[in-house]
Subunit: 291 residues, 2 copies
């Protein structure tokens, strides 16, 4: 028989990630009751119909009552206001975590709301998702074998870190820890920059005169390359402003490298072109072999 | 019973595309004999062992003898030299086509070699492929449902265009025709630019100090986004120089658009960011629905 890890879980923001987290914990049989919250009552009612949550309240202050774990799965831009709304209504022992893609601004927001960071607050980020969004796209297997990065603060209680790790492991994830700032730099490079390039590419092509025809002749490589441009614009707006500094740093690096490649193609610099492509292929092949 | 379309087919360059073309025609039962040619005898012997070709000669001048169709499937940079080698050895009625990703320089090369473009010369480009290369990666289904673009020259005999169309249809492809220059512009946007971005991105990350760690945390979106960076560097070196003008045009457009996005993120211009992402998502979703 499996141990119950959470008696009452409150998920604020029951979309792809929040919904999949609920489903994964139900699959593991480690949660008793799941309460949802969010701005859209209809969406939350759908989550109940789908069996993802047991009940909901659109007021997060009500939804968190007597919960022993609260997970913030709202867009980055909404985190601080949600924290402010729930602050006075949390049980003293309630674990608080989130699933946001950027950790620095969340910690800043929590400091602004709580004054001193709570000992039971441990930011987290599952490296998982699809280009879809909404609870209807959620599924229990989303985190299987995926990495979840926890970024404990200096104030985080190690016992709480360990409990949140156990919860994510019950979802099938491999959990690791790193510093807040380092997390944001690594994710800027591996996730946020690629999304910016995909959005910018599709938009560049969409604004060309013959855009309709152009997309007609796009093939499989293009489909894979641009899949992430179907991601939720509001969420990515929030992410790129939340991780402004680290993202701008890698975007500028990329822009400068792209200019070097443009110059090399303009000058017919075969050596530079071949070296760049060969280095990239080696790195990509090594990456593909490692996963 | 299927009609034989080609008695002796000669494929120069028996790699992913050339090999898949051979396999697709065998599957359709429309070819009697397939002769391979290329620089690497061992690779060609492997193609015989795999049943892709019947025999080979590393000298293209020998391999094309008595062929009624010759397909050039060598890298762009080798096209002109191969045409020069086979010129004196082609049967008068032999159809000549290719599978290159850029059509302008091939036509220029053919003019240089033949003087006047031959009536039985019809450039072609199957919009199909994977990031793999080599005959071992070839398969008969590669062209099923994929587009093949023929770019007949003003000298191309319409009956030959029709015959080559029939051959590609036997491979399972949907065949369309367009002008040489237009082809190169469309492909620069939908295929060559994305490859440049994927190579440049992976190379930018690979040259960062913590590159090994960075790739460790890359997830599914990154895998899809960078798949095309595993493509053959030599082939892509040739493509980007062969399509220099059209490619530089779209690379510069993209670079300028990327700079606007960088500026918008630096200035916290939410409106610009949201509009860009939203336009891109709409275009990508419409594209995904159309295929």
């Amino acid at each position: 028989m499996t141990d119950i890890l959470i008696k009452r879980l409150c998920i604020i923001g029951v979309g792809l990630i929040g919904g999949s987290f609920a489903r994964a914990l139900r699959r593991a049989g480690v949660v008793d009751e799941i309460v949802g919250s969010g701005r859209d009552a209809e969406h939350l009612a759908e989550a109940v119909r789908l069996g993802v949550i047991d009940r909901f309240d659109t007021d997060p202050a009500v939804a968190v009552q007597a919960a022993d774990m609260v997970v913030l799965a709202v867009p980055m831009g909404a985190m601080q206001s949600v924290l402010a709304q729930i602050k006075q209504h949390l049980s003293p022992d309630c674990m608080i975590t989130d699933v946001g893609s950027v950790k620095g601004p969340l910690v800043t927001a929590a400091e602004a709301v709580f004054g001193r960071l709570p000992a039971n607050f441990v930011p987290g980020h599952p490296i998982a998702g699809t280009e879809k969004s909404g609870v209807a796209a959620s599924f229990a297997e989303l985190f299987d074998g995926r990495r979840v990065i926890l970024t404990p603060t200096p104030q985080s209680d190690p016992k709480i870190v360990e409990r949140i790790r156990t919860v994510w492991q019950a979802c099938g994830a491999n959990v690791i820890s790193m510093g807040v700032r380092h997390h944001d730099e690594v994710l800027a490079a591996t996730s946020h920059l690629p999304h910016m390039l995909a959005y910018a590419l599709v938009d560049t092509l969409a604004r060309m005169d013959d855009s309709r025809e152009i997309f007609t002749y796009a093939a499989g490589g293009f489909r894979d390359f641009t899949r992430i441009a179907s991601s939720d614009p509001r969420m990515w707006h929030d992410i790129c402003l939340a991780n402004q500094d680290a993202l701008l740093d890698v975007m500028q690096r990329f822009r400068d490298d792209l200019q070097l490649l443009i110059d090399a193609i303009a000058n017919g610099d075969s050596e530079f072109i071949r070296q760049t492509f060969t280095r990239a292929k080696q790195a990509r092949d090594a990456f593909a072999d490692s996963i």
